[in-house]
Structure formats: C-alpha cells, structure tokens
C-alpha cells in the first residue's frame, strides 16, 4: 500500500505498523518521534498502531536551533 512519509510517497506491506515502517526506513533505533495524520504516536504504541493506505506520517528528529 502507499502512504506519505514526510510528504514523500512510501510503499509498504499492507497492515504494517509504525514500528515496521521505522524498521524499514532504519529509524527504529534512532531518537525520533512520529505523527500519523497529525496525531502523535508514542513509542509504546509503535507496535500496535497499524497504518492505512493514504496515511500521512511525520518522522522527526532534532537539529541545531536557537
């Protein structure tokens, strides 16, 4: 199925969880935070939340800022 991650198209297995998406992208072990359709998904739920086609996912980390 196809979803959007950080505004870019991303295809992945149907029924994928947030956790599996992060693994696929290599961020599972990183210090990142995730939104699905503008709602925060806390780490403890990464395994439970399943993604649907068309979902908009934001994966963020941290950069220098003032």
């Amino acid at each position: 199925m196809t979803i959007s991650v950080n505004s870019k198209e991303q295809t992945l297995e149907p029924e994928s969880t947030v956790q599996s998406l992060l693994q696929q992208l290599g961020f599972a072990e990183k210090r990142v935070a995730v939104e699905v359709n503008q709602e925060l998904v806390v780490k403890s739920q990464w395994n439970d939340v399943r993604l649907k086609p068309g979902d908009k996912v934001e994966i963020v980390s941290f950069v220098g800022g003032g």
Binding site: V5, N6, K8, L25, G26, F27, K30, R31, V32, A33, V34, E35, Q38, L40, V42, K43, E58, I59, V60, S61, F62, V63, G64, G65, G66
Partner: protein, 274 residues
Amino acid sequence: MSELFNTVKSFKLGSYTLRSRLLVGTGKYPSLEIMRQALDASGCQVVTVAVRRVEMGQKNAEGILDYIDPKKYIILPNTAGCFTAADAIRSARLAREGLGVDWVKLEVLADKKTLLPDPLGTLEATQVLVKDGFKVLCYTNDDPIMARRLEDAGVTSVMPAGSPIGSGQGVLNPNNIRIILETIKVPVIVDAGVGTASDVCIAMELGAEGVLLNTGIAHAKDPVAMARAMGQACDAGYYAARSGRIPKKLYATASSPWEGLIESVKRPETIPGE
C-alpha cells in the same frame, strides 16, 4: 566578608536547578565540533534544539545530539519555524516524545521577515501546552502586558526579546524589561537580539534571571572565544546587579583623599569648586 560572593548562585527553572544563567542555542555554527567547543566555553547548562523531519535514507538521524553530552547539558527543545499555534503545539509534543523532557521553548512567529513573535498565537499555544502538562518557556515581545497575560496562563518563564532574533542590537528598550521584572514573578530570561558580551551584561544588570542566545555566538568570527565572553559577561552582570552599583552623577567624587596634600609650590589663588 561578602555574603553574595560566597553564595552559590543556582536558580530553579522548570524541573531543574541551574548554576549557569546563560542558555545557548545550537543552530548555525560553522561545524558541530566548533559548536561543542563553544557550548563548553560558554559554561552553559541548557542548550536548545529544533524539531525537524529526519532525512529519508540518511541513517544517522541524530547528528546534533551526538555532540551534546547528556551528562553536561539539559536539552530544551524549541518550536522555531512555527507560524501557527497548532504547529507549535504539534512540534512541542513531538519534542517531548522524542527527548523525554517536559519543557519547551515556545516560539510562534508572525512572519519570516522580522521573526517577531505572534502574541495571539503564542498565548493560544501556551494555554493548550500548559493544560497538557508542559513547562512552557515562552518567547515573547517586550510588552509588559503580554508578559503578564502569559504568566497568568501559567508559563514557567517569560522570555522577552531584547531586540529581533539575530539582529544583534542588544536590549533596545530597557524600560520595558524593567517594568516586566517589576510585575512578573516567574523567571524572566532575555531571549534574542544579543550581539556581544556587553548586551548580556546589561540584560543581567537590569535584573533578568538569565539570557538565551544563539546567533551572537554561532555567527561570531570566533564562536568559541565569543562563547567564553558571553559566559563571563553573564556572571559579571549577575554579580553587578546584586552588588549595589554607585548612582550616576553629572560629576564627580574624588577617589583619593583631600587631606595630607603636600604644600603647593604656588597655590593657585583660588581652586575653582572650593
């Protein structure tokens, strides 16, 4: 012996007890290594970072965090780049989840040109985030009334701009900062506009609890040496503010005694002023 001189000058900010009153941003340094050295030279304990999307395919997403020793520094995420309360609230929640901290430096900007804060969006976001359990350190303009509204809304710190972000003009309106300090009980931290060490010193002498800056260090020709200067100026201003400075006069009082002068060769008929 000077009480003050012996007192450890720590203060409480959010959940933390801090010695250093200088908070330093991590943006726009020539390199991460120079940033690391500058943070060290500044003596700061709190550093700010921004929330941004990971670079797809780029595996090492943390970058900046690798250069900030968690044993030495407390990380304060900001909501820089947000122009609406809604975006600022989302950024704050993402930051809390990603960093496991309970505080945020709230910025809701009005436009990209002046980077001045939007008072209405800032107040709106503050109300939501405070209800959501955040300790909000709130960037705002130097209007004493907005500062009071933010305190009423439950902010942990009011952070008035000395002058526009990155303008390097220091504290343009000390009068407003003085009124804020008179009326606000939560810590007041001057944020933005600092160009050089004396700007930090002046902000502290006005009575601010601390100063937050970034560009003044990061864009100096020698960020590490400027960081040291900013740290020392912050301490200097802290002590000066509490040492009871002498009043200003048109002129003048002698620092050497008038008694016991040798007899003048040809005493001028009249010494003016005598």
